[in-house]
Symmetry: C2
């Protein structure tokens, strides 16, 4: 499959890249040409030539923290206190899910990612293999993350999952991880640290999401979660923390020195009243930052435009400084920062040899006009309506509002409704 995008504006997201007018070519899963103006040797035989009409090509957004199959709980239990939400609403319903349910529900999440220009997600949920199968079946790119804790999973099982899931599809990869410090015994964490060191692999987890979590960790270990985890050697080969809302300067310095990315989930953090992560300080220090939507039960949209807008504006209002956090830094979080956090070094920028994970932004919409600053337009007024095309691994999976995923989307909606109906009634 050879595709030529012409009459495009292109933002490669390489360092200091500016938007230019030009062409981009893909062949199978890779980008084979990116350049200004019209491309040389235009006589190639194309499977498709796409006149971009001045629309913008950009690397796909990376949704660096998700629980995709939680789609079935969207709008099921909002506007409740966090503990009631989690223990009385979420956990009992999750216990009723079959593996097949989890595949179908993950697919619903992926459809929504496509509408928001998200070309890969970093997922952790009940049965990671279910998500891996869904990704393979729809052609979606996913990094999965170990999620064991005291209620399920062991370190040997995590090691086994690592090898199994990394083999499912070239679109699927796996990272070591566990749910969180507050749900996992110290000896298990230490065992995982030894595995990570043996395998020379990074480790990921929910980290410093709520004040309660941090306070309790001090109670248990006399240290913050970051400091405790570092003390047992979990971050010897880097890793990442999801949320990072309640971090002190020492925590941040550890993250910087140990190559630990922080994945911020601003919508989830405000909706669940967890707080606002201090992204400005982390950015100043040089920590790699990424963005995630978290699960649809706690957000509830899977929309990178929402996350970008909040990542910028919540910094402004909490710092009481309209100049805090600029749009370009936020766009880096949503693209290259996410790719780095997820180990997707092949999908980060638009350049020859990189994977063709590409989105096209429709500039011919009122919210993208006038064009004073296209990056600011994207971050501050962009919306799902601007996603004209989403390509993953060289295949167009979403274009002009339609899905090309090899399955009937109405059928996926029906299954999701049937699952929640069954769970409520049983």
């Amino acid at each position: 499959m050879k595709i030529r995008f012409y009459n495009a504006r292109i933002l490669t997201m390489e360092e200091n890249a500016e938007i230019f007018e030009g062409e981009l070519h893909t062949e199978e899963s890779r980008i084979t040409y990116v350049g200004k103006g019209a491309a040389p040797n235009g006589e190639k035989e194309w499977d498709r030539e796409i006149d971009c009409a001045g629309n913008l090509l950009l690397p796909g957004f990376k949704n660096a923290h998700t629980h995709s199959a939680m789609t079935f709980l969207r709008s099921y239990a909002d506007d409740l206190p966090l503990q009631e939400w989690l223990y009385n609403r979420v956990f009992p319903m999750e216990a009723k899910l079959t593996k097949e349910d989890q595949v179908d529900l993950a697919k619903l999440g992926m459809l929504e990612y496509l509408t928001s220009g998200i070309t890969s997600n970093f997922d952790m949920y009940l049965d990671n293999m279910c998500h891996a199968i869904a990704s393979k079946e729809l052609g979606y790119r996913t990094v999965l993350c170990g999620s064991m804790n005291d209620f399920g999973g062991t370190v040997p099982e995590t090691e086994e999952e690592y090898y199994k899931i990394n083999e499912v599809s070239p679109l699927v990869s796996y990272k070591l991880g566990f749910h969180a410090e507050y749900t996992t015994k110290g000896e298990t964490i230490e065992e995982l640290a030894r595995l990570a060191q043996k395998m020379k692999e990074p480790v990921y987890l929910h980290l410093a999401e709520t004040k309660k979590e941090v306070d309790e960790c001090y109670g248990r270990y006399g240290m913050s979660p970051v400091k405790y985890l570092d003390s047992v050697g979990i971050f010897e080969y880097g890793g990442g923390g999801f949320h990072g809302v309640w971090m002190n300067e020492e925590d941040m310095d550890i993250c910087l020195n140990k190559n630990v990315s922080i994945v911020s989930n601003p919508s989830s953090n405000v909706k669940l009243a967890s707080g606002v992560a201090d992204l400005c300080t982390m950015l100043d220090k040089g920590i790699n930052l990424a963005l995630g939507t978290d699960g649809p039960a706690s957000n509830n949209a899977l929309d990178m435009f929402r996350e970008m807008y909040l990542a910028a504006t919540l910094q402004k209002v909490t710092k009481m400084d309209a100049a805090a956090m600029d749009a370009a830094a936020v766009l880096r979080m949503a693209t290259t920062g996410g790719a780095k956090a997820m180990g997707l070094t092949d999908c980060d920028v638009l350049a020859v040899g990189k994977k063709a994970d590409i989105i096209m932004i429709n500039m011919h919409r009122p919210n993208m006009q006038p064009e004073n600053n296209i990056v600011k337009n994207l971050v501050y007024s962009g919306s799902k309506e601007n996603i004209k095309l989403t390509m993953i691994d060289g295949k167009i999976l979403y274009e002009n509002g339609e899905f090309f995923v090899g399955e009937d989307v109405e059928d996926i909606y029906k299954k999701a409704n049937a699952i929640i109906k069954r769970c409520k009634e049983s």
Copy 2:
């Protein structure tokens, strides 16, 4: 023009209304039928019959605080401190605008309102007549608000504007108002209060937007802006305050007793770092609340979904309570609350005899699935992609991503780009 919507789900937004399946008919500018199931006497001759395929009909959103023609400054000067933004960037550029520019720029704003299901706006800007003309030309419903202050406009001119603008079109109405306490001399405010009392009209203004504004008012009058304005009799016939971020309980009680609506602009307030209005307390007291996007230079999107999401979630995070502010209350702010604040008592709900200002929500999208709770889906995961149709005064102006406003939208985009280019260069 007789239009029949069938196979619809309908949320009338009447008090305690639940969503039902049924039909809705319009004839010219009015709703002529709303009912469950199939309608009787289906043999009527229709100009158009629309199979809603289970999609949701709802009263159009009311954008109760706007400066539409500021579209030209979108993304022109973000990420700057408020004072620098306003004095060094916004004011010098605005001084270069012609009347024709303001008409064209207001039209760009209206196009974006249509994409977000906003069927009317409450605007205040340099020359209100320009917006009135733009509304008339595109068929858009607008309430305009007097904006005089010490730098332009007088009370007699406001009275003249009242009569002139109320005559432009049935789609356009006018309310007495002024810019803000901090930009307007006390004697002018008192003169306007006398006019409002003579005309028995409500008065609207920017109110308690920033802490600085409130502190300075105490310095001038020894009172908060709300208390001072009430003391000079400005609210004898009600009115409204745009923003209401820095209000104490006494201020709120005055608003309740004097029938003063508060129009919250959550996006603008976080982006400009003004703060977060205490909507929960105002709601508990029974104050009429509405939502606005503010101008595109300070938001930057004109998107009621963004405002609804933030109206709910910013209450949760500032109260540190995930149960604070529920979705249904927010949807009322965006529809009936706005209509009440704007005096659009004919456009508030879907009922026979009301104006046909209607939107259709596309439920066949991943972000609206599954259907655990459609109102929560709307508020927490809804987006512009869900606006399938926007009807104003019985005319469909936007459907399936296309505009039917009698003008070439690309031409409106070109004009906006030409205006900002000229302003930058001159």
